[in-house]
């Protein structure tokens, strides 16, 4: 038995993320996630998004595109 695979299997009981996942529709989505994602984007990609800007995105791909468009600006 492999612990890595076990963790993956365990995780499938929860949401699976793909590029067109509408993250706001996930059962576990909350204001805590929203803040954590904004903090993550700021720290890891050096892009400061306003909450209102993030609200205009629905899928992970759209959020990725928004961050990418602002990177280095």
């Amino acid at each position: 038995m492999d612990i890595g695979e076990f963790i993956k299997n365990f995780a499938t009981q929860f949401s699976v993320f793909v590029d067109n996942t509408h993250f706001r529709d996930l059962d576990e989505w909350s204001s805590l996630n929203a803040m954590a994602i904004l903090n993550m984007i700021s720290k890891k990609y050096a892009v400061v998004l306003k909450p209102e800007e993030m609200k205009e995105t629905n899928s992970i791909q759209e959020l990725f595109n928004l961050v990418n468009s602002k990177k280095g600006k």
Partner: protein, 247 residues
């Protein structure tokens, strides 16, 4: 005679450039105090200065995180009858995305600076007998907290503990030391944050009085604690939160 008059009192207010600090400075001047205001933003500090009532006030531009600027400020001060430690910052960020610098910075501005400033004022004998020292803390820390504000809560709760020890040490000289714990006040402190306008509007409804506080509502409580009416109040944490922490 108004029992809340601050006539003949000289009061130092930090973080006077905007928000709660600006309101405190203005209301203290209206109550007759001689006010010394300090802040980091020259333009905004001067705006506050222009709004003060009466004459004889003073403004000192200083970055209090810089120990030499803090020392310069202390040396330039007359003796004080009141000190209002108000300067503070908030940066909503969940714990796992803080780095060491974020934590140091928040603790420094919100907790370490007020402690050092108080220490230096005492060491330089700038605090008159019978003076009143007031620290603007928050409900966030002592009473409750919220996501993204664990370090902020820790920095503010540090003040609630600090005043208890200091009030004991200064009681023999009749110097009173108190904290005010406001709930959310309408200022521009959240303008550039990760909390949206919509979330703030929703948050307001959690207050039994269905609104945030106004800066002057904190300023009036500062006047109360600075005035001679409260000569028997020390080491207390005054809650002003529109009922938020009742539920």
């Amino acid at each position: 005679m108004n029992p809340f008059s601050l006539n003949t009192k000289t009061i130092l207010v930090t973080g006077a450039s905007s928000g709660i600090g600006r309101a405190i400075s203005i209301v203290c001047s209206q109550m007759g105090a001689n006010v010394i205001i300090t802040g980091r933003d020259q333009f905004k500090l001067n705006q506050t200065f222009e709004m003060l009532d009466g004459i004889g006030h003073k403004q000192v531009l200083a970055d209090l995180t810089n120990l030499s600027e803090m020392t310069e400020l202390i040396v330039s001060l007359p003796n004080l009858d009141g000190f209002v430690s108000n300067a503070g910052i908030i940066k909503p960020i969940v714990l796992q995305y803080n780095d060491a610098e974020d934590i140091n910075n928040l603790m420094q501005i919100n907790a370490i600076v007020p402690m050092n400033l108080t220490r230096l004022l005492l060491q330089n004998k700038k605090i008159n007998k019978g003076a009143s020292l007031i620290f603007i803390s928050s409900i966030n820390g002592y009473n409750c907290s919220s996501i993204g504000s664990s370090i902020y809560a820790a920095s503010k709760a540090a003040l609630n503990g600090f005043i208890k020890g200091v009030s004991l040490e200064l009681a023999p000289r009749s110097i009173r030391v108190n904290c005010i714990n406001p709930g959310m006040i309408e200022t521009d402190i959240f303008n550039e944050s990760t909390i949206s306008r919509e979330e703030l509007e929703k948050d307001k409804l959690k207050y039994p009085l269905k609104r945030y506080g106004k800066p002057e509502e904190i300023a009036y409580s500062v006047v109360y604690l600075l005035s001679d009416t409260t000569r028997w109040i020390t080491g207390s944490n005054l809650l002003i939160d529109g009922g938020y922490t009742l539920q």
